[in-house]
């Protein structure tokens, strides 16, 4: 594990990935709906203007067009804010992309409450739930900039439809460049024996911080980076509970239908036990600084610490 200090937003890593990957893949088309600067697709636009399509403020059109372009033999990256890609675009992604097995990767930035000042209309806690109920959809939520690049490469190398959730705010670097991460395989980022925290996205670094705090109190916590929400690594979930006896989920998403929901479904079927969930508690967000919002809405290391203690 790299020393935790530098913070980079996962959307930055996405932008860099596109430029690097675009040189090898001439069939890559990148689409924007008037957010190329925010989505970080502007680097690709500069490098490969002939393969960059600016659709304007029309996310549904971008997504259905992406399906059409993909069916002509291209791989397409289509980006917007998570709220508008997965929210407004849900039915287009379902019918024109996923159902037709279009080779479209919906790479959505600004997921969750860390969007900050833009407030409730721009903070989605529902996107992972919406995307994971779609059959065959790959749903990925990377924890840091380096794992974003590693996972994106695998997602773009494979055929098919995928949803990648990326963040606006900088997150600590947790991984090295040659980390052996694999789509569909949970990664144990810290070993522990008293409780397992299964986290996704920027909550992985919060979980690591929580593990540090708990360690100082003599509680040993295992931290699992569940970067892939679908297909879900059910084996790793069951093994974590068997090993540690208690499980806490942590996500920057509604506890309904997201990682908490997915983990609970798995455990209900395979190894019934109590699960504590850290995430957005069935409420809308508001404007504010990301750190203040994470605190107010209960998505910090301290909230994870409390959740672990509630179970052991």
């Amino acid at each position: 594990m790299a020393e935790v200090k530098k913070k980079i937003a996962t959307r930055e890593a996405y932008g860099q990935f596109l430029v690097e990957y675009g040189s090898a893949r001439e069939d890559l088309i990148v689409m924007s709906a008037d957010l190329s600067g925010s989505n970080k697709t502007d680097g690709f636009e500069k490098a490969y203007p002939e393969r960059f399509i600016e659709v304007g403020i029309s996310e549904q059109d971008m997504l259905a067009e992406a399906a059409g372009i993909a069916h002509m033999g291209h791989v397409v990256a289509a980006s917007s804010f998570a709220m508008f890609a997965a929210g407004r675009g849900y039915e287009v992604i379902r019918n024109s992309i996923a159902h037709t097995k279009a080779n479209v990767k919906v790479c959505a930035t600004h997921g969750g409450i860390s969007v900050g000042e833009d407030g409730a209309s721009h903070q989605t806690f529902e996107d992972i739930a919406l995307m994971r109920v779609i059959p065959d959809m790959i749903v990925v939520n990377p924890a840091d900039a380096l794992s974003t690049k590693i996972l994106l490469k695998q997602i773009f190398d494979a055929e098919g439809s995928a949803y990648v959730r990326l963040g606006r705010s900088g997150v600590p670097i947790l991984y090295g460049e040659d980390e052996a991460l694999e789509i569909g395989k949970a990664n144990t980022i810290r070993e522990g024996t008293d409780a397992a925290v299964i986290a996704t996205g920027l909550m992985v670094s919060e979980a690591l911080e929580a593990a540090e705090i708990l360690s100082s109190e003599g509680i040993s916590v295992k931290v699992v980076d569940m970067h892939t929400i679908k297909p879900l690594d059910e084996e790793a979930i069951v093994a974590s509970v068997k090993e540690c006896g208690a499980v806490v989920t942590a996500e920057e998403h509604s506890i309904i239908g997201g990682l908490g929901g997915a983990v609970s479904e798995t455990l209900a079927r395979n190894y019934p036990c109590k699960v504590a969930m850290v995430g957005q508690n069935d409420t809308f967000g508001e404007s504010g600084k990301p750190a203040d919002l994470m605190k107010k809405y209960g998505m910090t290391a301290n909230d994870i610490v409390a959740a672990v203690k509630s179970l052991i």
Binding site: S58, D61, A66, G68, M72, G73, E91, S96
Partner: protein, 273 residues
């Protein structure tokens, strides 16, 4: 190339076979299938560069039936063209069939895009035409839209995209039958003037009679001559065209004929039970 008379004969056969499928399923959309039949037959038999023996051929023309519910006419046309045996039309809307209630490109040979959710097919067709331009592919993309479908917002998003990219390889055809499920399009939510709306969105437009095959051929030939602009052909049609009691009746949008109605319709279309 077929003569107009031959195409009219094929269109009659397509209507008969489409109705056989709908009758067998006791489910489906005869009204909009019959309004679009002459357009589909003209495209597949005299205009489009497609070959059922190599359905995935690169550079071929493509057709997106954005008003996917009219697929009985598309399926019957594809079967007549040789993509699959006409007997398969009797499996329409039945379990395990390749002929789904709305077109599925994964299952049905010759279907270039899965549609059914109105508006999306048109936008996907715009994407195909953009990709075709990027790739230097010579194929045309034909998108067939319902007039009621124009009430979907994505249509106008896609229309602006097509104009921006100067998609002269995209030809949209609006099946203007002026009926939708809840009644007359002009009453439910007026879309007219269709030609002027598309022109305002940066398109060229051509009007034609959607049941006059020579008129459709002329309109398509004219559309292909136009450069730097996407073209919409607004084809005036009648819902249920070919069967007197279905013609211009909103009630026949999504209803299958019973045995007696089926017999009457076949008689009018010149088919046998």
């Amino acid at each position: 190339m077929k003569t107009v008379k031959e195409l009219e004969g094929i269109a009659r056969k397509v209507r008969i076979n489409a109705l056989r499928g709908i009758h067998a399923a006791q489910s489906g959309h005869p009204g909009g299938s019959f309004s679009v039949t002459d357009i589909l037959v003209t495209l597949y038999f005299n205009v489009m560069n497609v070959d059922p023996s190599t359905p995935d051929k690169k550079g071929r023309d493509r057709l997106v039936l954005s008003k996917g519910h009219a697929c009985p006419a598309l399926y019957a046309t594809l079967a007549e063209k040789g993509y699959f045996p006409p007997e398969e039309l009797l499996t329409f809307r039945k379990i395990e069939s390749r002929l789904q209630g709305h077109p599925n490109m994964e299952l049905c040979p010759g279907v270039d895009m899965s549609t059914g959710s109105l508006g999306q097919g048109f936008s996907a067709a715009v994407g195909m035409a953009i990709a075709s331009k990027i790739d230097g592919d010579s194929g045309y993309v034909y998108a067939i839209l319902g007039d009621g479908e124009l009430q979907e917002g994505i249509i106008w998003e896609a229309a602006m995209s097509a104009a921006k990219h100067k998609l002269d390889n995209l030809i949209a055809i609006v099946d203007w039958n002026n009926l939708q499920i809840d009644g007359v399009v002009d009453d439910v939510k007026k879309v007219a003037p269709i030609d002027k709306k598309f022109e305002a969105f940066g398109w060229k437009s051509i009007m034609c009679d959607g049941h006059d095959i020579q008129g459709i051929l002329n309109a398509l030939a004219e559309a292909r001559e136009i450069q730097n602009y996407p073209v919409v052909i607004v084809a005036k049609t009648h819902k249920g065209q070919g069967v007197s009691f279905m013609k211009d009746a909103a009630g026949w949008h999504g209803k299958a004929p019973n045995d007696e109605q089926f017999e009457m319709a076949l008689k009018e279309l010149g088919g046998e039970i």
